[in-house]
């Protein structure tokens, strides 16, 4: 019988996990540890409404204060897990070992930094509320020339917000086409076009050699020999899962905490969200998914797993899904694309600003991309969930006209 469950990480996956423990009837002690001092908050608005200044931070609470009180959780904000002893069933929080019967690891990820830029003011990454407010303040200054390093989803959203605020934006992407590894060249090119049509100076296939400035960043030297002057730099070149604190724990770590198909990392220990890598039955390999929706679903699944016996446990096999808001476009992707995929645009067109594209290979239907097409993305997501073939997906698309 479990009496005490500890959740490390007080963001989306951790909080949804705590809610699930209670709604599933767990009435023992729950401790929720969060490194940041803020009440649990939602991150997507940090690169959208909050960054734009449309929302203040008090609008992004993940749970109202009375809701947190209802959950009867010992909320430890501003504290950090520093170690885990699997055998003793203890987790070290701010240096003090605390016993648990069940542990949910949801420590998320941190932004990759551009090497050698730590000493310069004006160079930012975007992950936390504090990061967001710092960038927001920086974009209010003058002169305002923003350099975004990396044309991924975070960088693209930042560029979109900055353009709306009248900031001059240059975006540098090392790949020849933005997001080419995830979306392929054709769709990646539509993303590039979207930025350029909004006035972003997008430069692809070039890397940043170094950022220069005395105390503050002044410019970036690029590897094609050009120089981009900038007052603010936002670096969006991916994240690294937060597993440092688990190095000597004996848990299997490999770009995340490795879990079985049920999200179990070790007896009585589960993981969820950006930090978790698990054996996904649909793909026959392990995956780590950094999407908002996955943090919700996996937080629920991994918490429930702690209350289940091995016999009761079920595999976690979602169709990954995410969205990104850029300019007046809603981008949504469901499924996982494969390098061999054929890409078929089935409805609409980039010119209309509204289209759906399907990805498939080897007779399998793998993923759907939608631009301002939420209904169709969900319809195709259901087909992926049902393991529809490529032909079945195309036939369905023909029915849609």
């Amino acid at each position: 019988m479990r009496e005490a469950i500890t959740v490390i990480g007080a963001s989306l996956a951790g909080l949804r996990g705590v809610e699930t423990l209670r709604s599933d009837g767990f009435d023992g002690r729950i401790t929720l540890v969060g490194e940041e001092s803020h009440q649990p908050y939602d991150r997507p608005p940090l690169s959208k409404q909050v960054l734009a200044g449309d929302w203040e931070p008090d609008r992004i609470h993940l749970a109202a204060p009375d809701r947190l009180a209802d959950l009867q959780v010992d909320l430890r904000l501003g504290q950090r897990a520093t170690g885990l002893d699997l055998e003793a069933h203890t987790v070290e929080v701010d240096g003090v070992a605390e016993r648990f019967d069940g542990l949910l690891i949801a420590t998320g990820a941190q932004c990759r930094a551009l090497p050698g830029t730590g000493h310069l003011a004006g160079v930012h990454t975007l992950r936390t509320l504090d990061d967001c407010l710092a960038i927001r303040a920086a974009l209010e200054g003058v002169p305002r020339r923003l350099l975004v390093v990396g044309a991924g989803f975070i960088g693209s959203e930042v560029a979109s917000v900055a353009v709306d605020r009248g900031v001059e934006v240059t975006m540098v992407e090392a790949l020849p086409v933005p997001l080419v590894r995830v979306l392929g060249a054709e769709i990646g090119t539509t993303m590039a076009d979207l930025h350029r049509s909004h006035g972003v100076d997008l430069r692809c296939g070039v890397g940043v050699v170094e950022l220069v400035g005395e105390d503050r960043v002044r410019a970036a030297m690029l590897d094609d020999g050009s120089v981009v002057e900038a007052d603010v730099v936002v670096v969006g070149i991916g994240v690294v899962p937060n597993t440092d604190w688990l190095e000597s724990s004996g848990l299997d770590l490999d770009d995340g905490v490795c879990c079985d198909a049920t999200c179990l990392a070790a007896p009585d220990v589960t993981a969820a969200g950006d930090v978790a890598r698990w054996d996904h039955p649909r793909y026959g390999r392990s995956v780590r998914v950094e999407h908002w929706d996955n943090a919700v679903e996996q937080g629920i699944h991994a918490a429930r797993r702690l209350l289940q016996t091995d016999e009761e446990a079920t595999a976690y096999a979602p169709v990954p899904w995410f969205w990104s808001d850029q300019y007046d476009r809603k981008i949504q992707v469901a499924g996982l694309t494969h390098p061999d995929d054929e890409v078929r645009m089935v409805t609409g067109s980039p010119e209309e600003g509204r289209f759906t594209a399907l990805y498939g290979s080897g007779g399998r239907f793998n993923a759907v991309f939608g631009m301002n097409r939420p209904r169709q993305v969900m319809q195709f997501k259901s087909l992926i969930d049902q393991e529809a073939t490529w032909e079945e997906a195309l036939a369905y698309a023909r029915e849609l006209g």
């Binding site: 899904w321 969205w323 808001d325 301002n372 939420p374 209904r375 969900m378």
Partner: protein, 63 residues
């Protein structure tokens, strides 16, 4: 149970439609339509999942 959508927040991500298609429908005009504002108790867990998974936290339940 009464299903309430804050349409100022809703951005038609359509996750709710996937979770509970008999209650939520995003149509081709990309707007969300609530097909049944007072579903029976047998639909509670589906509506609760829609509440949790709405990326805009735009759905709530009033009892």
């Amino acid at each position: 149970m009464r299903v309430v959508v804050d349409f100022d927040l809703c951005e038609s991500n359509a996750i709710c439609m996937q979770v509970a298609p008999e209650i939520f429908e995003v149509r081709d005009d990309d707007f969300l339509y609530v097909l049944n504002e007072q579903p029976g108790e047998d639909r509670r867990s589906a509506v609760e999942e829609a509440v949790q998974r709405c990326p805009k936290q735009a759905i709530s339940i009033q009892d």
